[in-house]
Symmetry: C2
C-alpha cells in the first residue's frame, strides 16, 4: 500500500528532512551543509560528485565548500533518503533527487551520455514478482538501459546512413 505513486509525503522540505536525519545521527545541520543541500536541490539534473565540487569550490561569495566536505555531505544525503545513486558514468557515481520525486529508471545513450528518465509500473511490478518467487525482499533497484538515443542514431538529417528505418 505504499509502492505505487511514490510522489507522496512531501510535506517536509529537503532541508527539514536533512536536518531531521542529521539530528538523529548526532550531527549538525551546519551552514556549510545547507549550502551543499541548496546547490544539490537547485535543479533536477543528474550530477556527479565532481560536478558538484566544481560548482562549490571556487565562488566569490562565502559559499565555497571543500571537496571532502562535499563527499561527506553527499553520503549523508543518500543515507537521509534525499539522494540516490542512479547510475555510473565516466567511472563516477551519478546522483539524482530521491525525495518527493517518483522512482524511475533510465535510458542511457552510450554515444552522447544523455540520460532519459522513464517510469514503468509494470516493470516495477514484475521485479517485485520475480523477487517474491525467490523469497527475495526488494529494497530498491537500478535499471540502466544502454543504447542510442534518437539524436544519436538518427542521422542528423539527410546523409542516408546505413540503418535508416527498419
Amino acid at each position: 500500500m505504499s509502492n505505487d505513486l511514490a510522489s507522496v509525503e512531501v510535506s517536509v522540505s529537503p532541508a527539514e528532512k536533512f536536518e531531521e536525519y542529521l539530528r538523529s545521527q548526532g550531527m549538525q545541520f551546519t551552514a556549510t551543509r545547507r549550502i551543499v543541500l541548496e546547490e544539490v536541490f537547485s535543479d533536477h539534473e543528474h550530477f556527479d560528485a565532481d560536478q558538484l565540487v566544481e560548482r562549490l569550490s571556487h565562488r566569490k561569495d562565502g559559499r565555497r565548500v571543500g571537496r571532502a566536505t562535499v563527499y561527506r555531505a553527499l553520503n549523508s544525503m543518500v543515507e537521509a533518503g534525499l539522494l540516490r545513486k542512479v547510475a555510473r558514468a565516466n567511472d563516477r557515481e551519478v546522483y539524482e533527487h530521491d525525495y518527493g520525486y517518483p522512482q524511475h529508471d533510465h535510458l542511457i545513450c552510450t554515444k552522447t551520455g544523455e540520460m532519459i528518465e522513464f517510469r514503468n509500473d509494470v516493470i516495477r511490478e514484475l521485479i517485485e514478482k520475480v523477487a517474491a518467487e525467490h523469497g527475495f525482499q526488494v529494497t530498491g533497484h537500478r535499471l540502466e538501459v544502454y543504447g542510442l538515443s534518437k539524436e544519436a542514431h538518427e542521422p542528423p538529417k539527410r546523409r542516408h546512413s546505413m540503418l535508416d528505418r527498419i
Copy 2:
C-alpha cells in the same frame, strides 16, 4: 528474430571467438591470453578482476599471469563479446560470461553480497517497448535488484542448519 533465447550460435568456442576477435584487432592469441581465457571459462561464477588476478598470480606451474595483463585481457574479452560487466560490488566491476549464455539479470543481497540470477522475458520486452517509445535503440541493459535474500531476512530459525531440505 534473434532477441529471444540467446543460447544460440554457440557453434564457436570461446577460444575460437577470442582468437577471431584478437586477429581482427591485429593482436595475437598468445599462450598467456589463453591461460586467462581458460581460467575465466573454467566455471560459471561471477568474478571480479581482483579475484581473477589472485587465481592467476601465484601458481606453481608456469600459468601465472600478471595483474596488468589480466586487466588487459578482461577488457579484450569484453570487447570480444565473451564477457560482460554485470554489476558492481565492493567498488569492483563484476564480470560474467556473455557468450553462449542466456541474458539475465540479478537479485543482489545487500547483506550477504549473494547474486541470484533470473530471467524474465516480459521485463525484457517492456524495456524494448519503453525504449521504442522514446526512439531509443537498445543495445543492452543492466538491472540490479537490491534487497535481502531469503537467507538474509529469514531468521536462521533454530539452529537446524541453514540449507537443510528445501
